[in-house]
Symmetry: C2
Subunit: 417 residues, 2 copies
């Protein structure tokens, strides 16, 4: 089964918004083993949309549309598809009821053009929209399947997962189960990771092992196909073990874990409190940690000390230490961690100091960062980074490395890898 994704909307064509819907749909189709061969973006223009459909009919069995189901006169997706399929639009009573209820609930007056959203292609299966008004549709004609989804991601995404995927899986009769596990890495580059696990990647066909670098992390996705979820997971396990044996030291989590969620999870599990003294990151480390709900049980607070004077005034970093080693030093990072731990009476103290850039500081080049951690066992660890990004990627990486070293410090103390 070959699929094509057609996103409809002039705002996409003009570059005012990015086609993240195609990314989402493609990723989820890949998970159920359906190959996508083309993505197309076309504007709110019925003639060009019709041509795009005509081309897609020649090269795909499943055509998935997003956008153009709304109430305005620009929204023409279902009208154009109905015409091409020699079908007509009919009023769907249930969809109309949902729209009326929506207006009642939000205490707004329903204008006549909103009724247009309840029109569906005759013979289509309605895909319910739980986050908006315009229903989605699925229809089969002459061996081709068409799925119509609304444009706003918060409406499209749950509809695709909860309504469209089951329809597709049912219609196509997919018997195979696909399971995957994502290993999350930090502190190792994509090229280096690929190089180290290259043999495994090349050898595998089921499961497959695919590296992927996002802005701040590197991941390996292990994906297996089998007759049951359990069987697929059994295929994944030995490959995961093999990868962990090679590069396990850089793994900080799996699947949906992020550096901050993993750090928060470990802190809360072990009832450890934390505080931080931040210079170049100016609060970013604490802010990332506090993205996690419930972190107030662990994060007591901390101090942002952005210049030398405040490092002395607020955190009593000795003047002599700064004069001897400079503020961007192993010694200053350790002092920051120790002093903030004392000041906030927390189990763990973290200190961050460095040169974000663009200019060097204290004869240290841009990108030099020192991280200090005093653990709940009183052990003081320091880590040096030599980053090569812009001012703000350096700041973000420094905060992320601090989370990574924090995770490693807590898990090591537990005897975990």
């Amino acid at each position: 089964m070959k699929a094509e994704i057609i996103a409809v909307g002039s705002e996409l064509l003009l570059g005012q918004i990015t086609n993240t819907n195609a990314t989402f749909i493609a990723k989820n189709l890949a998970e159920v083993g359906i190959d996508v061969y083309y993505h197309t973006v076309v504007g709110d223009n019925p003639k060009r949309l019709d041509e795009a459909i005509s081309i897609a009919q020649q090269r795909a069995d499943l055509i998935i549309f997003s956008g153009g189901l709304g109430p305005t006169k620009d929204d023409l997706t279902k009208e154009t598809i109905a015409k091409r399929l020699s079908s007509s639009l009919i009023m769907d009573r249930k969809a109309l009821g949902n729209i009326e209820a929506y207006f009642k609930r939000t205490k707004r007056t329903m204008t006549e053009n909103n009724k247009k959203q309840a029109l569906i292609i005759d013979g289509a299966t309605v895909l319910e929209n739980r986050n908006g008004m315009a229903p989605g549709m699925a229809i089969e004609k002459e061996g081709k399947r068409y799925i119509l989804l609304p444009g706003p991601p918060h409406e499209m995404e749950p509809m695709f997962i909860n309504e469209a995927i089951p329809y597709i899986v049912g219609a196509v009769g997919i018997r195979e189960v696909i399971a995957s596990k994502v290993l999350k890495f930090y502190g190792i580059g994509e090229a280096e990771l690929e190089h180290r696990v290259q043999d495994i990647i090349e050898r595998q066909t089921n499961p497959t092992v695919a590296p992927l670098a996002s802005r701040d992390a590197v991941t390996l996705r292990i994906t297996a196909k089998a007759n049951s979820t359990e069987a697929a997971q059994n295929l994944i396990a030995p490959v995961e073990a093999e990868i962990r044996a090679l590069v396990g030291e850089f793994i900080y989590g799996i699947d949906e874990d992020t550096l901050s969620s993993k750090a928060a999870e470990l802190l809360l599990q072990q009832s450890l409190t934390i505080s931080a003294a931040e210079s170049l990151t100016a609060g970013l480390f604490m802010s990332e940690l506090s993205e996690q709900a419930g972190i107030s049980a662990s994060l007591k607070g901390g101090t942002v000390v952005y210049n030398e004077e405040e490092k002395q005034r607020q955190l009593h970093v000795p003047k002599e230490l700064i004069e001897k080693y400079g503020v961007v030093s192993k010694e200053c990072a350790a002092a920051l961690a120790q002093q903030v731990k004392l000041k906030f009476n927390s189990d763990i103290g973290v200190g961050l100091t460095g040169v974000a850039g663009p200019d060097p500081h204290d004869q240290k080049p841009m990108g030099t960062v020192w991280i200090g951690i005093e653990t709940h066992k009183g052990e003081v660890k320091t880590f040096k980074l030599e980053l090569s990004g812009t001012r703000n990627t350096n700041r973000r990486r420094a905060a992320n490395f601090a989370l990574y070293y924090l995770i490693k410090s807590i898990s090591e103390n537990e005897g975990q890898k």
Copy 2:
């Protein structure tokens, strides 16, 4: 002139990455008045790429490719285009020199397959790659123009702006100049803004006025076409004045301004120092401010006080005040601002306290936020927000509102709007 953008790459097709290149290219083509009618994404498959080119040749005069110029055997864009144009690939000496220099500079060994990147389509104009190895190309054949760009955005974007756009403008002989000015708004929703300036939007044809909402801000872009930049700017000025008269109070900046760049600019211009006491944002406000280079002259630092105890211990917020009003209150926000200003001896103090969520706190619902600012004139201002986002959108909006109120507080003191 009709344009089509073809992005080549299986990682796009599989949804592993998003086609932000199309967004960037489309937006910049719109700026020079070129209409894009289709975006296409196709995988690293020469047959399907060739079919996509064949379709594009029938419906576009300018075809812009991104991706597939790299050294690996998957990279087939120029090979496929050369074949379709009945042309051949030749080694470009200058490009080869750049690649060899790149390897020398990074002290790595150049493998044979890297030479492939220096092959260009015979007759093409080379577009220099200043941020990577693979050169871009521009070629004309039988009235159609083809532009080949590398896939990585940090290579593609500067090449497109500096090399491709001048080529296109020169080749097409665009005589018209397009100028635009973006007005940046905060504290007003997109729907409300559109409603208030609807008459202006509907009345205008040159300049046009287009609203656009991004994740955290709302903008109006005023775009004029004329024979010269000056003439275009003269068309923009009266429309801008009209908009400012209606909704000027919500404008915080123009063009590339962000809330943090504008706040930093005003602080540095007026030589004002600042410190902050952050509860729900846990450092995000200070971190956003410190995205701006040079801010160390203004940002002295601050305190993150994540629980009630630390608000008392670190910042001497009176126990009685907290007992009477709670930590999420006008009084607590004001006290945080005043105390942190004292503690850091800064000109301005900012306090942030609130309920990020997901749970309510102190009988205050999720999304309740109080911001306090003590200005350099000793005036204490407080602002209440009732946000309706998730935990982390609430945290981000609270930090952004604090930047917005800071901007307003400093500019008002200057007598600006």
